[in-house]
């Protein structure tokens, strides 16, 4: 091997490496991915998903890895004009796609959000909601942010599809946001998923000031009566009946709500403990792993570094704030109607985000009255919010 050959090999390696392909956009995306990794790992902001999303974002934006044989994710297979006109060519994806392209099929077809809902259903105790059915009203009121964000997004000039996808961030429910966005605005999936999960992680910072601003000290100190015991029979009949009732009423809700209730039935029926355990742990972990990294991979700089992304982030925050305010204001109304038997703080827990929002309501109540234990009361609107955001998603999918 002479000096010329060595020189050619070095030149070849240099041209193959990504260093020559660095652009300012890829550098910005790498920095954003690293910040999200820092927030996930160091600050523990929704780490189970944010770490995966951030790593997917990192790997797809490295120079030389955004297309070609070495790429794990090929955005052109999913977001090109040809795909917009004729739909996804899955044969092409299987033939030319990388690992993350294959995993992304689960997002695109809506499999992962549904599987996660089975796991969430298996982890959720609807007991507090069954013990206090009025909490469903709070769960409905806390969807206000979805519709306020929808109006604002339309005013800011977003198309109907993108406006609906941005609006669903207000439901504070990651799988629901992903389920709606993968159908209506797949090229905005990265931005919307990141905004949704980031705000969910920031609930302890976002909600308390709104809760304090909208309630009086007297209201925050209200102690609520102990909830009644819910029988096993009620807990078993509930998921079956809800599936039948709601899915007939609003069929577009069926994929999410059906899976949520199926998971819950596995938990409550008492004869499928192994399945319930798998849904809560192994299945949930595997799907979370696949979902996070493949959603993150969609955040390529061509679709992410736009003015629209900043607007999505801003509107997402407003949606969260309006949802919190909607829940608290309905809580105040119910407090007034029941002559002070309901603490309005539990209304803020109606924003889905289980169980973080309920913990925030409990902690806020405890700050003002050390003897106050609002956690179980707040879990009612909290799980009602999961149903409410799924219904809202069904409506948006049916209309847009």
């Amino acid at each position: 091997m002479n000096a010329e050959n060595v020189s050619n090999i070095v030149k070849g390696l240099a041209s193959d490496s990504g260093f020559g392909a660095f652009t300012w956009q890829s550098v910005v995306m790498i920095v954003i991915a690293c910040i999200l990794l820092f927030l996930g790992i160091s600050k523990k902001f929704e780490p189970l998903l944010l770490v995966g999303i951030a790593f997917g974002m990192l790997i797809t934006n490295l120079p030389g890895l955004s297309s070609g044989d070495n790429a794990l994710f090929h955005s052109e297979l999913w977001f090109s004009q040809e795909v917009a006109d004729h739909g996804v060519n899955y044969a092409n994806v299987l033939h030319n796609g990388g690992l993350l392209d294959l995993l992304y099929i689960g997002v695109k077809t809506g499999i992962y959000p549904c599987l996660i809902f089975i796991g969430v259903g298996a982890m959720t105790d609807f007991g507090p909601m069954l013990a206090n059915p009025k909490s469903l009203i709070l769960g409905a009121a806390a969807q206000l942010g979805i519709y306020m964000a929808l109006i604002l997004a339309i005013i800011f000039g977003f198309t109907g599809n993108v406006a609906a996808s941005v609006a669903i961030i207000g439901g504070a429910d990651g799988p629901t946001a992903i389920f709606v966005t993968k159908t209506l605005a797949p090229d905005k999936l990265g931005a919307i998923a990141i905004a949704a999960y980031s705000y969910m992680a920031l609930i302890p910072l976002i909600q308390p000031p709104i809760m304090r601003a909208l309630t009086t000290k007297k209201e925050r100190m209200i102690k609520m009566d102990q909830l009644r015991t819910v029988s096993k029979k009620e807990k078993i009949i509930f998921p079956i009946a809800v599936t039948v009732l709601v899915c007939i009423l609003l069929p577009s809700v069926a994929p999410l709500l059906g899976c949520l209730m199926f998971g819950n039935l596995l938990k409550e029926c008492g004869v499928t403990e192994r399945l319930s355990d798998t849904a809560q742990n192994a299945l949930m972990n595997i799907v979370t792993l696949f979902l996070g990294i493949s959603v993150g991979a969609t955040a390529v700089y061509t679709s992410f570094l736009t003015k629209e992304t900043l607007m999505i982030v801003g509107l997402g925050l407003l949606a969260f704030c309006f949802s919190t305010a909607g829940g608290v204001l309905m809580g105040k109304l119910m407090c007034w109607i029941t002559k002070g038997k309901i603490n309005p703080l539990i209304g803020a827990a109606g924003v889905s985000a289980v169980p973080m929002a309920a913990r925030v309501a409990h902690n806020e109540g405890k700050k003002w009255n050390a003897d106050n234990y609002l956690l179980m009361h707040a879990m009612g609107p909290n799980v009602a919010g999961v149903i409410g955001s799924a219904v809202a998603a069904g409506f948006l999918l049916a209309v847009f």
């Binding site: 929704e46 059915p133 409905a140 009121a141 929808l150 339309i154 990651g174 009423l249 049916a398 209309v399």
Partner: protein, 132 residues
């Protein structure tokens, strides 16, 4: 309702990729919020009905075992106890500790509290939500 939405959806789908008029946006928002409220109110009514029926049927079935169980006396409860607590993956020692801590935190005598069940939450990383 599903039929109504489906009919509207066809019209809306044609225009969804286009910008939506602000007036239409308000209408969609109002309709959407109304539907969420309606569905959850229907569910609320159903739950009230369910709990009423469950309590009634429990009352019916509860009479029989009462008569049958009378001869074999149930084990006596400790003085001041409010009944049994169901333990899931929790040993007696931990359960006793949890109940004592709760009573202490609430500054309420233990015999004035009723514990229905104590379950260990499998939360590997602690603090995070249900990955949703």
């Amino acid at each position: 309702m599903a039929l109504f939405l489906a009919e509207n959806a066809q019209d809306a789908a044609k225009n969804a990729a286009e910008k939506v008029a602000i007036g239409d946006g308000f209408l969609y928002a109002l309709l959407g919020f109304g539907i969420v409220l309606l569905v959850l109110v229907v569910l609320m009514g159903f739950i009230y009905l369910l709990s009423y029926v469950a309590r009634k049927s429990d009352g019916l079935f509860a009479k029989k075992p009462k008569q049958e169980a009378a001869p074999s006396a149930a084990p006596a409860l400790a003085p001041g106890s409010s009944g049994n607590v169901k333990l899931n993956n929790v040993d007696d020692r931990t359960a006793a500790m949890v109940m004592a801590i709760v009573a202490d935190e609430m500054q309420t005598p233990l015999n004035e509290l009723r514990f229905i069940s104590i379950k260990e939450i499998q939360d590997a990383d602690g603090g995070e939500s249900l990955a949703k």
